[in-house]
């Protein structure tokens, strides 16, 4: 196959046995980004949910800025975690329904690497926007100054782990017709470490303590998840498809 042919048809390249891993992953990332751009509500819904949940707390607890400021880091992190959880159900659902997930399983490239591309897009479309939006909601909760950058940073870093761990749950439940509640039962306990260190980083920033250790552990959790989760996701997808 000549190089011009190869450039012309990446879709063909993906199923060709000799196709490189990088090409396949790039194709998956490009495809999922295109799909996300065409279904914008999938991106906007978690953000709207995030804002709504944050709005509920002052109404439910108290509008006093002093009280809100003290619980703001936890509220923002918990709400972001729930928003990520909400978006997980759609991660493999459409691909499962139209059969393209089976094509992914049949691809000659290792499935664990290919799903990493899908999870990367999921993070780009939920984790990153949530992290960018969080400071705005922090303002509403009177989050003390000086912790906004850390809030975004910790959410951006932590949500990589959330996406990876959540994808295991999504892969396990994609074959079930009503997997939503089960998904949260599976994923939430596993997300607790990320929540602890994410909130810890923001609180340390508010108190003026060093935030480095918290971010370092968030990074370590992210590395651990990056190493191990793809294999669990791949194994779970095989169970969901073949079972």
């Amino acid at each position: 196959m000549s190089s011009s042919d190869r450039g012309a048809s990446r879709a063909v390249e993906m199923v060709e046995p000799r196709g490189g891993l990088g090409v396949a992953m790039a194709a998956i990332v490009k495809r999922d980004l295109t799909l996300a751009a065409r279904r914008r509500s999938d991106i906007l819904n978690p953000l709207a949910f995030f804002a709504l949940v944050i709005t509920l707390f002052p109404l439910g607890i108290s509008p006093q800025p002093a009280l809100l400021a003290s619980i703001a880091p936890g509220l923002l992190w918990v709400a972001a975690l729930l928003a990520t959880l909400l978006s997980l159900d759609t991660l493999f659902r459409a691909d499962f329904d139209d059969g393209s997930l089976e094509q992914l399983l049949l691809a000659p490239q290792p499935l664990s690497a290919l799903v990493l591309g899908k999870v990367a897009v999921h993070w780009l479309m939920t984790g990153l926007p949530l992290a960018l939006m969080a400071p705005l909601l922090g303002l509403l909760l009177a989050l003390p100054a000086g912790s906004y950058v850390i809030l975004s940073l910790s959410l951006a870093l932590g949500s990589i782990s959330l996406s990876l761990i959540g994808a295991i749950g999504a892969a396990l439940t994609v074959g079930l017709s009503r997997g939503g509640v089960l998904l949260s039962l599976l994923v939430l306990p596993l997300n607790i470490p990320v929540l602890i260190f994410g909130t810890g980083a923001v609180q340390a920033a508010i108190l003026g303590d060093p935030v480095g250790p918290h971010l370092a552990i968030l990074g370590a959790l992210c590395c651990g998840a990056l190493m191990l989760a793809p294999f669990a996701i791949a194994a779970s997808l095989r169970i969901s498809i073949n079972g």
Partner: protein, 246 residues
């Protein structure tokens, strides 16, 4: 070696061998738990600070030990099932999950009952209590996932993956909850720095711990045997067994 493993792994052989082991496990479990609880509840000296309320330790500590050990055994069984496709391992993992969840609940419940007279509260967000609660949720997740699939084989494999993911996460969760606890509040009391136990209190506790483990093994063997009969109901040897027993 391999022939031996496959022999033990075959449901029929496991059924026969476990049938011979089971009475001994039950004798050990019932004997140790009876002696341990009588000794602990009636003869061990009362604690000089807590009085008789400390005696709940003889249920609380063994249950807490088992709660964690059962999750690890379940994950090991899941690994054996996933790697070598030994069906008996999955049956064992399936029956271990509810047992582990019950033990976790017992540990939490007795801890809470113990907390009321000694700490003056049913619940505090102590690091150990919190990680135990998370462990209970992990058990519930494994049980729910297994039940959610229409095909038993998919349910088995999904639950196995989750058990292995969970067992990797348990140390991470435990460590981070410890960290969270030291960050947020300083303990005015601690379970770990209790004055070391006199020997007369320690012996019945040891008997109870060993007795609980024997109970767990006996219970797992017994329930695995019933699971074998249930899943292999169509097999020739099971039908023969049923015909002979009737």
């Amino acid at each position: 070696m391999w022939a031996f493993i496959h022999k033990v792994g075959s449901p029929k052989w496991f059924y026969a061998i476990s049938g011979r082991l089971l009475p001994w496990c039950w004798i050990l479990a019932v004997g140790l738990i009876l002696v341990g609880s009588l000794w602990g509840l009636a003869f061990a000296p009362a604690d000089y600070q807590q009085g008789d309320s400390f005696r709940i330790i003889y249920v609380h500590v063994p249950a807490a030990f088992l709660a964690q050990s059962i999750f690890v055994s379940m994950a090991v069984a899941a690994l054996v099932f996933m790697v070598w496709k030994i069906k008996v391992a999955d049956m064992a993992a399936a029956v271990m999950a509810p047992l582990g969840a019950v033990m976790t609940f017992v540990a939490l419940f007795t801890g809470s009952v113990w907390g009321m007279p000694t700490w003056g509260t049913w619940w505090i967000w102590d690091a150990r209590l919190t990680s135990m609660l998370i462990l209970l949720f992990l058990y519930l997740g494994v049980i729910a996932l297994r039940g959610a699939f229409a095909s038993r084989d998919s349910g088995s494999r999904a639950a196995s993956v989750l058990a292995m993911v969970g067992v990797i996460n348990i140390p991470v969760i435990k460590y981070s909850v410890d960290w969270w606890y030291t960050l947020h509040q300083k303990a005015s009391f601690s379970i770990t720095s209790r004055p070391s136990m006199p020997v007369e209190m320690w012996w019945p506790l040891l008997l109870m711990v060993v007795g609980f483990y024997a109970f767990f093994i006996a219970m797992t063997l017994m329930r695995t045997r019933s699971e074998i009969l249930r899943r292999e109901a169509g097999k020739h040897w099971v039908r023969e067994l049923a015909a002979g027993g009737a």
